[in-house]
Amino acid sequence: MSQGFDFTIVIGGAAGQGIATPGNILARIFVRRGLHLHAYNAYQSIIRGGHILLTMRVRDQEALSHGDRMDLLLCLNQDTMTRHLRHLGPGSYAVYNTDTITPVDHQEGVNLCGLPVIEVTGERRNRLAQNTAALGVIVHILGLDFEVLESALTLQFQRKGDAVVSSNVSVARKAFDYAQENFPALASPMPRSPSPLAVWTGNEALAMGGAAAGVKFYCAYPMSPSTGVLHWMARNARELGIMVRQVEDEIGVANMAIGAAHTGARAMCATSGGGFALMTEAIGSASMMEIPVVFINVMRAGPSTGVPTKTEQGDLWQVLGASQGDFERIVVAPRDAHDAFATIPEVFNLADRYQCPGIVVSDLLISEGTFSVPPEKIDMTPPIERGKLIRDANGTPSAYQRYLDTPDGISPRAVPGVPGHVHVVATDEHDEDGVLISDEFTNPLKRRQMVEKRARKMEDYLTRVPPPVLEGDTGADVTLVGWGSTAGVIAEAMEQLREDGLRVNRVAVKWILPFHGEAMVAALSGAKQTLIVENNHSGQFARFLRGETGIAADGHIRKYDGEPFMPHHVADGVRAHVNGLVPGGVFVPEQEIIV
């Protein structure tokens, strides 16, 4: 496929076997060489045991998905060998400890790199020696100098003292030497680029986006796969002056964030589906009181508790239907980690402008994935626009009305503490002055006026967010439509299909509500065969899109087994559709890698 360097290392083992450490060390090595990384970790809700499979794709250009390949499989236990050796093709490598692991049936041309760990390293007791030894083997295979590994090990273990560092270096060295003698290295070694990259998870990107947006109040209740945002915030709270609170439940979280936001702080909180369900009532209240707050829903496989460690795009309708009644809010689904980072300040600016809640929809794939990022793309001082916010009295106060029915529907918003602007915000319907009209006289004319005032706010919204665009060949045979995190995998599937001679373009939808319906119709107006790709069972986006535009796709590619799409899954779906092999209209790829 690609001509440059594109190599995927897969590490498998049980929880508690310490997969994270070699993963981290390799990630550091790669990004310091300026290579791009896209890592997906398939894991379970278990602290020890089970089966973890970490897929690390390294590329000399941006890696938009974790790809389709296994070029090197590191087996930390027999189970990994048994499950995955058959996925390896000719020229690939299997690295394992021959003391405990035996190869199984495999394709021809696989390089079996069995290391007798005890014999080579002399380590009998240390369960983790096999991990460090494996790194020595891998570094050799990649054609790197041992010094690269040595400095990475030093960095990793220096907190634990010199003895730990030197014992690890020595183990790695012995394995490296053994590998040089016994195992073939890559024909063309791993390249390097002059500009080192940084590495983050999507949750860290979301948290940093919040920090960049000026969030000074963050609260949460832990819930996978969103908890990483809380962890980053908690760690950086002191340095950045962010008040971080863990609250008793998600209802408390949402309401506390609303209180802080009303008081003038930018406030954010993140959760996953079940927690978001508990927040919905508060989200509606923020809209009614016209308080800007940002809520993040990191989707995992549902319904209900579902599969907490697996990904899905199954909460779109929950987000669309969050809370009773008609009300103003913004919904956006970023496409990848950097997009998530950059979107948060944008959403805050929009939420502040329109004085309404903003909902950011991420998923496990983005949030818990590990990705490289060019450091210069980490802009921590994006523009901050707080809209019609009154933070001081500015001379003689005039008769202030919190919900003044202005031409654009947006009323100047004073924060508590400002003299002369005392007012009450209310979740009951109220008049321009914040006085309830749900009580003594439920005036239907005033009621209608206030509904229309709030709705009017959003009239110019679509001029402020980019419309969905058609990317790729115009006049293509197939147009793929995705939303949120599938953007990358769709792009890579398109590359594969192009190699097949199929002309494919795509629309990657990000801004969901209010929706750019007309632009979408325009973008798809020339489409010959439209296929919607989404990571759920019922086609949540397809139904939404049809409701907003009337567009019924010609076919669907869906996956709902908890594992994310790989590019070939999408490409296979396109081929099947093009060849008329999808009678029901919905193609569901087989998940080959069973974790």
Binding site: W200, E248, G259, A260, T263, I378, P419, V424, E440
Partner: protein, 297 residues
């Protein structure tokens, strides 16, 4: 940040809201409203220094009748919202007003955890032992046997005791008032606002429309003040014991005070210099950014 408009000392009248209360004539909530207006005036507070947060209920309409910044939020959620307000700007005086259903029913978990955290709020509960706004159902503080629209054969669940519950959960100022005793209420409210920590005043506030059992008469016959008995508010056991009395004698006054425990905002070093809201526009510095990015490489 704000212009100081504090020229003239204000009176209770200056704390009248934009509209008159729509409570039923004789509703106990009028008493707490008047007492609060008097207390804040006597303390020399300005309307813009106060945020009054409520949930939903007859009693929760309070902020609309009180001249201060107000938030009339969701049923049961006032304490959570108020904690957010206080954490964003601890220079504000934050009052929380609402009903027994709002606070001890649906809002019970926030009550427990706000007490545990000792957030510096003044929580004024208008306890009428009934759901007023929804026209008379049993509340978590209704007595056993009480007949309501949802318990036509009499309530079979024992009521919560907000006083012992607040004490045991960690509230640091716990009192009981009666809307028929304004003088005591004013004193208790002033004490609560001055107290640095979570202060709860559960106030008997008769619902003259739906609660025929716990009337002014009922309370007048039973109420005795703790002051008159020289109760020691640092003795939690005595406080709980007195709070449990009900049949013949019912105490009002300050049951419990913990003068030592620090409030939440004082325990968080981030808040030492200034409240978050004062730092809102403060951008991430170049050095901060570089430190963060360096850790990622």
């Amino acid at each position: 940040m704000t212009i100081d408009l504090r020229e003239k000392p204000l009176t209770a009248k200056d704390f009248k809201g934009k509209v008159d209360p729509d409570w039923c004539p004789g509703c106990g909530d009028f008493g707490l409203l008047r007492a609060t207006q008097t207390a804040v005036a006597q303390l020399g507070l300005q309307p813009h220094d106060i945020v009054c947060v409520s949930g939903i209920g007859c009693s929760s309409n309070f902020p609309g009748y009180f001249n201060a910044y107000g938030m009339h939020t969701l049923h049961g959620r006032a304490l959570a919202v108020a904690t957010g307000v206080k954490m964003a700007n601890h220079d504000l005086t934050v009052l929380v007003t609402g009903g027994d259903g709002d606070g001890y029913g649906i809002g019970g978990n926030h009550f427990t955890h706000t007490a545990r955290r000792n957030v510096d709020l003044t929580y004024l509960v208008m306890n009428n032992q009934i759901y007023g706004l929804t026209t008379g159902q049993v509340s978590p503080s209704s007595s056993v046997g009480m007949k309501t629209k949802s318990t036509p054969f009499g309530n079979i669940e024992r009521p919560v005791n907000p006083i012992t519950s607040a004490i045991m959960n960690g509230a640091t100022y716990v009192a009981r008032g009666f809307s028929g005793n304004l003088k005591q209420l004013v004193t208790l409210i002033k004490g609560a606002i001055n107290h640095p920590g979570f202060a709860v005043i559960d106030t008997f506030s008769p619902c003259v429309t739906f609660n025929r059992d716990n009337t002014y008469q009922f309370f007048k016959q039973r109420i005795q003040t703790l002051e008159s008995e020289g109760h020691d508010p640092t003795d939690w056991k005595a406080a709980c014991e007195k709070a449990m009395e009900w049949e013949d004698r019912i105490y009002t006054g300050l049951f419990f005070e913990n003068p030592v425990e620090k409030p939440l905002h004082a325990l968080e070093p981030i808040l030492d210099d200034a409240p978050p809201v004062a730092r809102v526009p403060e951008p991430i510095t170049r050095e901060q950014r570089d430190r963060i990015v360096a850790r990622m490489m």
